[in-house]
Amino acid sequence: MPRIGHDTPFAAPRAALSRRRFVQGLATGGALASLGAWRSALAASTGPAATELRGTEFHLEIGETPVNFTGAARIATTVNGQLPAPLLRWREGDTVTLHVTNRLREQTSIHWHGILLPSDMDGVPGLSFGGIDPGQTFTYRFPVRQSGTYWYHSHSGFQEQTGLYGAIVIDPHHPPAIAADRDYTVLLSDWTDEDPMRVFNKLRVMPDYYNGIQPSVQSLSADAHGRGWGPALSERLMWEQMRMNPTDLADVSGATYTFLTNGATPAGNWTGLFKPGERIRLRFINGSAMTYFDVRIPGLKMTVVAADGQDVRPVDIEEFRIGVAETYDVIVEPKDARAYTIFSQAMDRSGYARATLAPRAGMQAEVPQLDRVQWLGMRDMGMAHGAPGDVPADTGASGHGAMNHGDAHAKHPKAATDATHAMPATPSAQGGMVQVKHPYPAERGVGNSMLPDVVSTRLDDPGVGLRDNGRRVLTYADLHSVHPPEDNRAPSREIELHLTGNMERYMWSFNGVKFSDAKPILLRYGERVRFVLVNDTMMTHPIHLHGLWSDLESPDGAFQVRKHTITLNPAQRLSYRVSADARGRWAYHCHLLYHMEAGMFRAVVVE
């Protein structure tokens, strides 16, 4: 049974605003056109995701644009007056020139996420270049050496939260192996009416400010109603004893966020048109500041054909989780002349983004209920008895040392079949639980409140909230690059980084050392290195290395899939290979915006 948050979600900052309107947003919401006129509801929500700019030379003007998503007028940071920013369509092999002009009163920048380029074109102020000052134009120019779905966003302050993000689609040299009749980008994002600096400050003052699903007496009694007071109470006490929160699924939630699809609120309902029988390529991009989405289209099978812009062996699924900054291309083939809802619920179930695929504008399909909240379990804590299925009864028993295995597992035979007791003695393709050491002194310091005992190397865990939900959910185990990397040497050395954090103080870091106190990670040009990431924390983090591919390995150490952003579940250990084939200074960070700003960021220098 999934964990349940029965309470009314906490809508702290929006108490006065009608909850429904806040979650749903305004039907006509979005960016006002640069001329100041409202775009009509229809024009705003149907057809292409954003203005598409093609060619080799682009003029992008970053400015402030009034928007209204919730009934309250706000100022967004936009490109050419648009939120999301215009879709940039490039061609593999071209050299693109992008003139970016800053019309803001503060510095800005654009980072081309997942794009291989010279490091001085990467757009990270303080690493790649000095940033773009107000009134200045910076010209980016670089050859396009790849194809697929990517995106771009500001790397300055919180502009990424206030609207500065857009899609990049690069058409390949040769026609794609997977042809499609229609091609839509589906850019998911999270919008807040609050000043992001205020959001950040609230998190630093009260880290669970936006968490409206906390353990309470109400949820305890519901839990006890389901399985008796003994197990319910013992699990609760276990969490209390550890001073950890099993509902710490998202730092920033629907309490302040309105979730957008292509810049449209759920009520705005962005709609992509199709004719029955057509093959549609949906290019999902998670351009959120903080939100993981679980995406499905009830009634349609999805075939995943690319991840982070790179072709993967097609895999049929019903649902996928998309980490912040990840992209997935899926093919759908609706046969019926009916509408389908693209339902993207936030990982903490505090809200959803919604869009529609339909034969005609204005058609709608049913919008599913939000799934129930699933609590973090023992496996997410890195305690030895976690079973892959997030077994609540399990947690209560083993949390106390007073272990009662019979009780713990008896109720969950299914989950126990691949439980952690069956540790493989040799590396296996599935992975398992391994013990970890914590070699960094600062991991035991103020900045890190958890030291998992054992961590999972499995790639086939869909993560908290999606376990055993009865749907076929994509996991990293399903992703296999079509082409192996050109440089597929075995790594010559290994760099182990632990993702660390202290939610109580809102501190985030690698190895317990926040950015300011750390030194650059050095790679020698031309070497092939294995990065080993161990997630000490109980949160899910998307880790992004700029400029260099992250070639994810299977648990037995073989190359599996090429990505630019890699999600780690709580208490998970993943490894990937990196070819240091581009000199310069590169950013390496958690792509949750407020984690990054709090210090979960490193500089990588290839010299």
Binding site: V205, M423, Q435, K437, Y440, P491, N502, P520, V532
Partner: protein, 330 residues
Amino acid sequence: MRPLTSLMGLCALSITLATTVASAQSADVDHGAMDHSGMDHGAAQAPAPAATDHGNMDHGDMGHDGATQAAATAPAAPPVGSLPASDGAALDGAATDGAAPAGAAERGYDSYGIHPHMMDDMPAWQVLFDKFGVSRNRDGQNALQWDGRFWFGTATDRLLVKSEGERENGEGSDGKVEAFWSHAVSPFWDLQLGARRDIGNGPKRNWAAIGIEGVLPYNIELETTAYVGASGRTALALKAEYDLLLTQRLIFTPELEASLYGKSDPARGIGSGLSEGSLSFRLRYEVTREFAPYIGVSFDRKFGQTARYASDAGASRSQTALMAGVRFWF
């Protein structure tokens, strides 16, 4: 004299306790230490009940001890375990930065021209009044109550100013103001060094203060401060509270407070030893996170010489009061 000695002992005990709590912290959060036995237990013995559910489990593997397993299951044993030396890694047998450019690990951002604008050192601040309201006791006396704090600083180092007390209608007031440097010593604990000044009725005593504040297992918030003042005065203040969420907005808070003194201070009506204790229960409703009206009841009791001073002054030794107010912060 005896109370003083015992109180000094208590102070020392409290500080020892504080240190122990703080240092035990790392052990607490380290599941490696805490639950390791559980882990081994699980790996070694768990099969019995669990195995019945493991249709496809390989029992032959279960005999391995954890270390062997860890080594064996590590993905294709890496050629060299090379960790960023700048983070002070000390993994057994790992050559730190083995293949990195020599000496390079010692160099900071400046030598690479790296100057990003991160906010990880940016200070924050908060003004929080846990209690701000009125109380009315059994004798019908009304009082204004406050318990607030202001802090400014980073996640690890803060200037902290606290004040609590009450002003009775026509009866004068009692309270204290404190200022600390609050320094994080472990994930859940701060060590606090500072000073206190008593306000209200009687002489205004000044104290040097050392305390710890943090969260105990089971999410109990604890503040303990030991004080040393002029003329050999010593004191100890303890406060523990727990927030029990009834719903997401309705929160029940039991709070226990106690103060101890090493020396009688008749001018302030304080006797040596355990002088006062208070148990209160508040129920607040968070209209927003920042604004939460509360109602509550408190049971206060004076002990020993302090109680006798109170009796002599015609006041009662113990008192029950109802309270109402607002918890707010910004």
